[in-house]
């Protein structure tokens, strides 16, 4: 009888020692590489600068812009309502709290879109949902929203519609609201009817 208990004890000791050898590093949950590969070949993660501009203007509360540039660059210029998480501190526990909140859309922003896309891949590997990449990055933001180019003659109608929207967005983002007031305000013109003949009138 005693011997049986000895066997059991030895087994438990072996298992206990085994757990010491298990990698103790805190592991972040990750999705399967194959799953990640399948998700990344879909272009659904890209959003355009126009879409972002629209969301900011409408004050969409679900939008969460994450700027992955360095703190210096962020200091100089950043999109309204964006938070700065430089790419190298992306997986710090304090940064990870920004991702995966149900109902929010996290949009990564960088100078171009490569760094933003890298941030997307890294957070996706950790299984976060609802993350996007601003296509073209801030360079494209400057070209499309801050300094939109008028479409050439003969462009489809939609090009003009986009341009009209961008022009409006430009005024919104450059704080040039005063310009709107000046440019588009209907001039108050007081026009009086001309009196044609000297004797016209009378009550």
């Amino acid at each position: 009888m005693d011997r049986n208990y000895i066997y059991l004890t030895i087994l438990m000791l072996v298992l206990a020692i085994g757990t010491l050898l298990v990698n103790n590093e805190p592991k972040l949950k990750q999705i399967e590489p194959q799953q990640l590969l399948l998700e990344m070949v879909q272009p659904t993660r890209y959003v355009t600068t126009d879409q972002i501009a629209k969301m900011i203007i409408h004050g969409d509360p679900s939008l969460e812009l994450v700027d992955v540039r360095s703190a210096d660059e962020f200091e100089q210029f950043a999109l309204p309502r964006s938070v700065n998480i430089p790419l190298d501190s992306l997986i710090n526990s304090s940064s990870l709290g920004y991702f995966g909140i149900p109902g929010t859309k996290v949009v990564f922003v960088s100078n171009d879109d490569i760094a933003a896309d890298q941030a997307w891949v890294l957070t996706k590997r950790l299984g976060f949902k609802g993350t996007y990449v601003m296509r073209g990055g801030l360079n494209c933001w400057m070209e499309t929203i801050i300094n939109p180019q008028e479409p050439s003659e003969g462009s489809p109608n939609t090009a003009y519609e986009t341009y009209a929207f961008r022009k409006g967005a430009q005024q919104y983002f450059t704080g040039a609201k005063a310009e709107v007031a000046e440019g588009s305000k209907v001039k108050v013109e007081v026009q009086r009817r001309k009196k044609t003949s000297a004797v016209a009138g009378g009550c």
Binding site: M1, R3, N4, Y7, L8, L11, L28, Q30, E32, P33, Q34, L36, L37, L38, M40, V41, E73, Q76, F77, L87, D88, L90, I91, S110, N111, D112, D113, I114, A115, D117, Q118, W120, V121, L122, R125, L126, R135, G137, L138, N139, M142, I146, F173, T174, G175, A176, K177, A178, A181, E182, K187, V188, V190, R192, K195, A198, V199, G201, G202, C203
Partner: protein, 212 residues
């Protein structure tokens, strides 16, 4: 009488069978096609490195078929590939990258120490797959900087791209703060100086103009 006392070996036998089943289970466990070999920390650090970049001028030898240790994969879909691609490139569309035979091919190329270069329409398209392959241990996989669009613009003189500064990624091409500032420095101040609307009244010229 306790049941174990019937056969003192019984517990040992059960234990051995248990351990044996566990071992068989582990050995025959189907290994996933891909596993991460690079942890998150290294993966983050790698975003700063240049290792995963392959430049257009490095392709010169490849296109002239002198360079046998580079294999170029076009990850755009088959239709676009048919309309034009870099000479010597093989089509392996992004949708098929996760297939077993594609992985096997990469495995084979890795063992031969061949550099695998992926390119899409732009650099962005190849960025994700290249990052993933490097994370699962294919450190011979690189992305063509600039992608096909860039190649198309410079295919006549690939070597000249060596000094092309527009190729630099993640560089601010504009002074954002300046550009996004109010269009003319004074625009904001102008709000306070409201222009008064001047209403000019026409002078009545005729003396006898009537009315009430």
């Amino acid at each position: 009488m306790h049941i174990h006392e019937l056969n003192p070996w019984r517990t040992l036998i059960v234990l051995t069978v248990f351990v044996a089943i566990m071992i068989v289970g582990f050995v025959t466990m189907r290994e996933p096609l891909l596993t991460y070999e690079m942890d998150m920390k290294t993966s983050v650090a790698e975003t700063k490195s240049d290792d995963s970049c392959f430049y257009l001028w490095q392709l010169v030898g490849f296109i002239e078929k002198e360079n046998a240790d580079v294999v170029l994969f076009d990850i755009r879909d088959n239709f676009v590939f048919g309309q034009g691609h870099i000479p010597g490139a093989e089509n392996l569309s992004a949708q098929n990258l996760a297939r077993e035979e594609s992985i096997a091919r990469l495995e084979e190329l890795k063992n031969k120490n061949t550099t695998v270069v992926l390119y899409g329409d732009d650099q962005l398209q190849a960025n994700g797959p290249v990052m993933l392959f490097r994370q699962v241990g294919f450190d011979n996989v690189k992305a063509l900087v600039g992608g096909y669009q860039y190649y198309k613009q410079h295919k006549d003189d690939l070597l000249a791209t060596q000094n092309d500064s527009t190729l630099m990624q993640e560089i601010a091409r504009y002074n954002y703060a300046e550009m996004a500032a109010p269009t003319n420095g004074a625009a904001i101040n102008k709000v306070s100086q409201k222009k008064t609307v001047e209403v000019t009244r026409r002078k009545k010229t005729a003396a006898v103009a009537g009315g009430c």
